[in-house]
Symmetry: C2
Subunit: 324 residues, 2 copies
DNA sequence: ATAAAGTATGGAACGCGTTTCACAGCAACC
DNA sequence: GGTTGCTGTGAAACGCGTTCCATACTTTAT
């Protein structure tokens, strides 16, 4: 495989000139430029990007950490990040952490090792202090709330989402409202729990601890929640569920148990995934793809302007269907 | 930022010895090894992986091309590939081609440029000849059928999937069976169409051209199909649908139109996604995650043993629910 | 005509770790 | 006692493009 030295020899110019042609620098006479291009053609030249990366000290690759790709929230997010990256000519290195901090740190090393120029966090288990520390090695954008003051955040307004859901249910007359979330110690989970508690208190709503469910991610998990509710002597009349999948499973199993939705149990989901549409699920639509794009754009800004853009919060939207 | 030269100076050894310590080569006396490790600690040394990559001529990164991440088939596939990669210590560069051949070729250059060691094709629009040509630049594994004889394939048996679906419907007495697929000119689409036609002929089933739909990917697309069927004077009594999402949309809209499923219209989907579960959809389960893992393992073999593993075909499974 | 400014090009250093080769020291083997 | 073979270490070349600096030739300005 040929390299610039060979090209230079063949075109009877210096390696510097070849490099200039390669990078479209001015100050190369047309005839020499021609000669270089011809030599590259003849020798079927392909530049070695590793050498370029080493030389330039950057790679045009940005990394993404998500717990799992195979969850609509994160695949939507990556879709958006991917679009944003492509627009700004970055490539995308994706890492599944499985919610394992060890895996996360392993990937953070890519930043230290200069294999990626920047990093977008889909969801992280690392404490704020660790993120602050790691942010010294490169630009980081987080898509979830985090105590870290050093990294830029692009978030959906979880408080507002929970408020929309609860307000909607209250407007329908509900006072016994349960909550079901995914990972309780991720940024999203923490935000949602906190927002929900605050509303419970502010509105003086009823509450029982067995109206709270956590670690629920899948349709099956939703079924389990329904089964549990069905067995309660005093059951909630409405559930706020952090994922459409879980909400769908909940509705499905509720139907099987003879619980009428929405008459006996109102259900509101999050994300407005396709599954919400077919299940006639009222849901809080989150602009996830847009969040990904925004995050990529923010990171691009940090990498090029070396300035830290302000945190951004994207707004949600209530989509009312038949489940409430 | 420190480099091995500084480490070497500080530990009073040669750069070679530092490299040996770094790579756990034998033949380094314990005291020197200690000294090097201490120097690395003191100077907060982080190796520059770009230099390593350049030097070694490989990157331990493998690329994946998919049309879009945000589709359950592909996010499942990437999930599996991600797991397989992690197991073998590869990192994963993901590229969304949007079914645009130009985008694909752009990414193939990563292989030429030596930025990735190998490539997994989720779905490609490139003709077999182009793939053959590109396969000279590095190892490629495809997850869909392709005319290319040079690249390794890890597939699900689409013929068998279509046959399962049709046989199941025939056993329920259906003779007017329609087909609905996604991209008709991708490998998957072609395989499915061909398999379906062959069965139509073999079984002597009825056929009308307006029982065939292509380019259907989403729940909305499924609704459109249902609407179209509702308007037909002679409608199919059963539909084989290449995606659970589309099938779910179809069922939903059919219900709205007063078409009874499965009595008036039986529907069978593909993938056994969560949405199939909540919609009580009979479906052909595809081992997509496993396919991803298998593809990653195959690529690993090609990269380490330099041998081309045999093509692999994974088997499908019929999951019977209420829609047939 | 001469200084100033721009155009054009090459040499050499740089970024940084890996690997080949040569060689020294030392133990085992016949 | 001499050969064989392993252990341990370093110098130097290598992989490859970018960039700083110096130099030389043209123009343009004065």
């Amino acid at each position: 495989m040929s390299n610039i030295t060979e090209i230079a020899r063949r075109a009877r110019v210096s390696r510097t000139t070849v490099s200039r042609v390669l990078n479209n620098h001015p100050y190369v006479k047309p005839d020499k430029r021609e000669a270089v291009l011809k030599a590259m053609q003849d020798l079927n030249y392909v530049p070695n990007l590793n050498a370029v990366n080493l030389s330039r000290g950057k790679t045009n690759v940005i990394g993404v950490i998500v717990p799992t790709i195979n969850h609509p929230f994160f695949s939507n997010l990556i879709e958006g990040i991917g679009r944003g990256c492509h627009k700004h000519h970055y490539r995308l290195l994706v890492h599944q952490s499985n919610y394992d901090p060890g895996h996360e740190i392993e990937f953070f090393n890519m930043l230290k090792y200069k294999l990626i120029d920047g990093l977008i966090l889909g969801s992280s288990m690392l404490p704020a202090a660790a993120l602050d520390e790691l942010s010294h090695y490169g630009s980081i954008v987080s898509c979830e709330a985090s105590g870290s003051r050093l990294i830029t955040k692009v978030l959906v307004n979880h408080e507002s989402g929970i408020r929309m859901a609860v307000d909607h249910l209250r407007s329908k007359g509900h006072r016994r409202i349960g909550l079901c979330i995914g990972n309780p110690i991720s940024g999203i989970g923490i935000s949602r729990k906190k927002a929900f508690s605050a509303l419970l208190e502010a509105y003086g709503l009823d509450w029982r601890d067995d109206w709270y469910f956590e670690g629920k991610y899948s349709v099956e998990d939703g079924s389990a929640v329904a089964a549990s509710i069905a067995g309660q002597s005093l059951a909630p009349s409405a559930m706020v569920v952090g994922s459409d999948y879980v909400a769908a499973g909940l509705i499905k199993e509720a139907a099987r148990q003879g619980i009428k939705v929405p008459e006996q149990l109102a259900v509101i989901g999050f994300d407005n995934q396709p599954i919400a549409q077919v299940m006639d699920l009222t849901t809080i639509q989150q602009p996830i793809v847009q969040m990904g794009e925004t995050a990529a754009a923010a990171l691009h800004l940090m990498l090029t302007e070396a300035e830290r853009p302000a945190d951004q919060t994207l707004e949600l939207e209530l989509v009312v269907r038949q489940s409430t």
